[in-house]
């Protein structure tokens, strides 16, 4: 009896197929099998199963591996980070401190260190789900990471040269996969990305067309202008609007020139005055260029039209010095210019507008030099405290913040948090934003913050605890990496 026959019989059952217990004599195995009592067919099958199973298990022969051996990873040039630093990575990957991971990767890259091999799968996994971590991950994964990534299709983004099939994904991928692909391509090669979109534009459903346009904000340039100008005549309103909003950012566009024609009569500039003249109506052509007719609640329609036309007008239309114009302008005009300066990333205008206290356009901070942005933020914090508008501004303030701005924020934070009694409106706004501050503040203020916030009413304890944990964690992780 051999193993295969035994199994075949056992599968159908002894009731239907009694075992045939013929055993070839002469071998030790044969003798054992020959001693099995055939009078009890079930016992005989079980015993034979035990004997043959063990015989095969004990005498197993391992297969030969015929495939080519894998190439070995080249040696590393940079050293690995310390075990303490790697352990901190484990903590971040485990979840709660995940918001700090990007900063940690930046520190490791700046210290010219690498993540140890056994941590690479976890890190690559994290960067696969959070695309924002990819450039820094690539910087700290070393030769081992470049060797490892191509082996797992999910990590193709880290595999470099061996690129994925763009055209294939674009033709057959899911909506999410196509958007992901377009976003990545826009960052790397905006022209190729636009040509990909244009190649299938006519057949795309409207919600995809609008989504693709939104993604084209990355890498936007005058090269995109003809395509966007054509999209202004799209059948669907949301597509037309998305195209117009992108063109508002391109001061050299044809749309910009048309808007300038509309805006000039609305802003009357003389030697001593700058006057805003509200339009009485908007025509079809203006609506085609992205001006929305219906105002939001609480805004008059003429003021709303004025705001949009000026915000969409290239700032170079106004030839006087921005500082003089801003000084003479009324609040309505200033706000429109602030939106224009933020959209067009115009540094001179952004600087001038930030001088005026009543402009709340946080994006302006991203248009001015880093040092100036931090100064402005510091002034606002010292002047107004942590109001909703200032917190919004802070979130747009580029990193690093440095000890001065961070110290100012902590001072004001202490005041807000220590205030007794019922939480006021400011506190209600601040509470959910505390973690946003905790990942941005310079960690050198951790000690001050711990002291400042030691006495807080119970209403604050959960968020303050988390805020201090974040700061402390970030301070400690710096100590583990040479700078």
């Amino acid at each position: 009896m051999n193993w295969e026959e035994l199994i075949a019989g056992a599968l159908v059952g002894t009731a239907r197929r009694p075992p045939a217990l013929g055993a070839e004599p002469g071998s030790a195995l044969g003798e054992v099998l020959a001693a099995i009592d055939p009078a009890d067919p079930e016992g005989a099958v079980l015993t034979a199963g035990a004997v043959l199973g063990l015989y095969r298990h004990a005498g197993v022969r391992l297969p030969a591996d015929t495939g080519p051996p894998p190439p070995a990873s080249p040696p590393e040039i940079r050293p690995h980070c310390s075990e303490a630093a790697a352990y901190r990575l484990d903590v971040m990957l485990a979840g709660r401190f995940r918001p700090v991971l990007e900063e940690w990767l930046g520190l490791v890259a700046a210290a010219e260190r690498l993540v140890p091999p056994d941590r690479l799968p976890g890190l690559l996994q994290a960067a696969t789900t959070s695309a924002g971590l990819r450039p820094l991950t690539a910087a700290v994964m070393g030769e081992r990471g470049r060797w490892l990534a191509p082996l797992n299709p999910l990590w193709a983004w880290a595999a470099g040269g061996a690129e994925v099939d763009h055209a294939g994904t674009w033709a057959t991928g899911s909506a999410a996969a196509r958007r992901l692909l377009l976003g990545r391509m826009r960052a790397a090669d905006p022209t190729a990305a636009r040509e990909l979109v244009a190649s299938t534009w006519a057949t795309e459903p409207p919600e995809d067309r609008a989504a693709f346009l939104a993604l084209m904000a990355t890498g936007l340039s005058m090269e995109d202008e003809p395509f966007l100008e054509a999209a202004l005549d799209d059948r669907r309103k949301e597509v037309r609007l998305a195209a117009a909003r992108l063109l508002w950012r391109l001061p050299e566009s044809r749309l910009g020139a048309r808007m300038a024609e509309r805006a000039r009569p609305l802003v009357r500039i003389s030697r001593r005055r700058v006057e805003s003249i509200l339009p009485n109506s908007v025509d079809e052509a203006t609506v085609r260029d992205g001006v929305v007719v219906k105002p939001p609640a609480g805004t008059g329609e003429r003021a709303w039209w004025f705001h949009q036309v000026v915000a969409a007008t290239p700032l170079h239309t106004w030839t006087d010095a921005p500082s003089r114009l801003v000084e003479l302008a009324d609040p309505l005009l200033r706000r429109a210019w602030a939106v224009a300066a933020a959209n067009q990333h115009d540094q001179a205008w952004a600087l001038a507008l930030l001088e005026a206290d009543d402009v709340d356009e946080p994006v302006l901070l991203e248009a001015v030099p880093h040092q100036r942005a931090v100064e402005v933020a510091t002034q606002r914090v010292a002047h107004s405290g942590l109001t909703a508008a200032v917190v919004e501004l802070l979130v747009h303030c580029p990193l690093p913040w440095g000890p001065r701005l961070s110290g100012a924020v902590v001072d004001r934070l202490g005041e807000s948090v220590r205030r007794q009694g019922r939480p006021d409106a400011g506190a209600v706004v601040l509470r959910p934003r505390l973690a946003d501050l905790g990942v941005r503040l310079d960690p050198s203020v951790a000690r001050t913050a711990t002291a400042e916030l030691a006495d807080h009413p119970p209403w604050w304890s959960d968020v303050v605890g988390w805020f201090l944990d974040l700061l402390t964690f970030r301070a400690e992780m710096r100590e583990e990496l040479p700078s």
């Binding site: 159908v12 297969p63 352990y87």
Partner: protein, 433 residues
């Protein structure tokens, strides 16, 4: 003074979320008034006072958590192991002294109540005979069930619901043969294990049948086989019985792998050791209820000078640590077999001695992990390969640590595949499971 490693501390955690929580409170800035004096470590984290008895591990904290140890006690230990400069030698504050004194008092009282119940050898023999008979009756019932299975055919087993297996397993537990119970539950997973399952199921059922046969004539078998049968049915040994069974084996033992699994309401820790002088392998098994800390004296990647007492049997494998000398060292060399064939060579002898051995250790040097059509494998220098049974994370960790170069592997050989538990490369041991 005991020094603990991060790994050791982590293994004290009642569950994995506690480890994560403890890591988060293990920052130096969250702690004040910390110190240790060799007997205990203590400190204040925010408003909670936490202390740990380092000699006879126990934990105290004023926080409301019901976990033992809580995240503060664990965090304190992590802080102490990672930043000894923060938890400095000091004399214990009064509240720590008071706690230790209360513990010492309780410890002194406890044995007084429990000990000195004279063991009546006759009563004991009666109890043992009674249990053997109950197990025997349970096994006979199992044999009828196995016969039915074979009579109706293994194919019929495929459509069975889980309770078909679980009911029998539960009856084996009632008959005081929990080891057989878990073997029966395993049959349920073998049926769902894909290609080749009928062969595996038949071999498994056959071995259970063999167990029933052997138990029915227990008295006629040699004492080692009797011991193996007792182990196989899950009749546990007391440490006194193990220590009395024979002389302990002294060696410098490498801790090559440690893995924790959850089963039913228990956590099971398996720690594999390799003797540097004797070449013997040993398995230390620890069971604790879910939520309780596991023993953590053996840390993977270290070498301990210890006496091991092996459980009786024809092929002694499981052992307990009778005594430890000195501090553990870091492992500096890998003692794995040079080829996979050599690593398997002892297995036939092991199975001949004890056919109910289910898992066998496998420690091998110089294998390269390779991904093939058929699955993940490890290939040795002679071109022979073994299939690896490993999850995604374990595989990618193994691949990353290897980088395509030969590494050492330690794991368990079961059902024709190797379950790798740790990898040795660049003079470091990395856990895979």
């Amino acid at each position: 003074m005991p020094t603990w490693t991060a790994d050791q501390v982590a293994s004290l955690a009642p569950d994995s979320s506690s480890i994560a929580a403890a890591r988060e409170v293990a920052g130096p800035r969250l702690w004040s008034s910390t110190g240790h004096d060799g007997r205990a470590a203590w400190g204040q984290c925010r408003r909670y006072l936490a202390a740990v008895d380092l000699v006879d591990p126990a934990f105290s904290c004023t926080c409301p958590s019901r976990k033992v140890p809580c995240k503060h006690a664990l965090g304190l230990l992590m802080l102490w192991t990672s930043s000894p400069e923060v938890v400095r030698p000091a004399s214990a504050p009064p509240w720590v002294e008071a706690w230790l004194a209360a513990r010492a008092k309780r410890a002194a009282r406890a044995p007084a109540g429990t000990e000195k119940k004279p063991v009546d050898p006759e009563a004991r023999a009666r109890r043992m005979a009674g249990r053997a008979a109950r197990i025997g009756a349970g096994l006979e019932e199992l044999d009828l069930w196995l016969s039915d299975l074979v009579r109706h055919g293994l194919a019929s087993a495929q459509g069975r619901p889980f309770h078909y297996w679980d009911d029998v397993a539960a009856r084996m537990v009632d008959a005081q043969a929990p080891g057989v119970g878990s073997q029966v539950r395993r049959m349920a997973s073998i049926v769902r294990s894909g290609d080749g399952w009928p062969g595996r199921l038949l071999a498994h059922a056959g071995r259970l049948h063999l167990l029933v046969e052997a138990w029915s004539r227990l008295d006629t078998l040699p004492p080692e086989t009797q011991a193996d049968l007792r182990t196989a049915v899950g009749w546990s040994w007391t440490s006194e019985e193990v220590l009395a069974a024979g002389p302990a084996l002294a060696d410098r033992w490498q801790v090559v792998a440690r893995t924790v699994a959850e089963e039913e309401r228990f956590r099971i820790q398996r720690t594999w050791l390799v003797g540097t002088a004797t070449g013997r392998t040993a398995l230390i098994l620890d069971f604790v209820p879910v939520g309780a800390p596991l023993p953590a004296e053996l840390v993977a990647g270290t070498v301990v000078d210890a006496d091991l007492a092996f459980y009786p049997g024809a092929w002694p494998q499981r052992a307990l640590v009778a005594s430890v000398r000195g501090e553990p060292d870091s492992m500096s060399e890998w003692l794995g077999s040079p080829t996979l064939e050599a690593a398997l060579a002892g297995h036939a002898a092991a199975l001949a001695a004890n056919p109910w051995l289910d898992r066998l250790p496998m420690v091998v040097a110089d294998v390269v992990p390779v991904a093939r059509e058929s699955g993940w494998r490890a290939r040795d220098s002679s071109g022979t390969a073994v299939d690896l049974r490993v999850d995604e994370h374990g595989w990618w960790t193994l691949a990353a640590v290897s980088g395509g170069r030969p590494v050492g592997l330690a794991g368990e050989w079961q059902d024709g595949a190797l379950r790798p538990l740790s990898v040795w490369a660049d003079r470091r041991l990395v856990a895979l499971a």
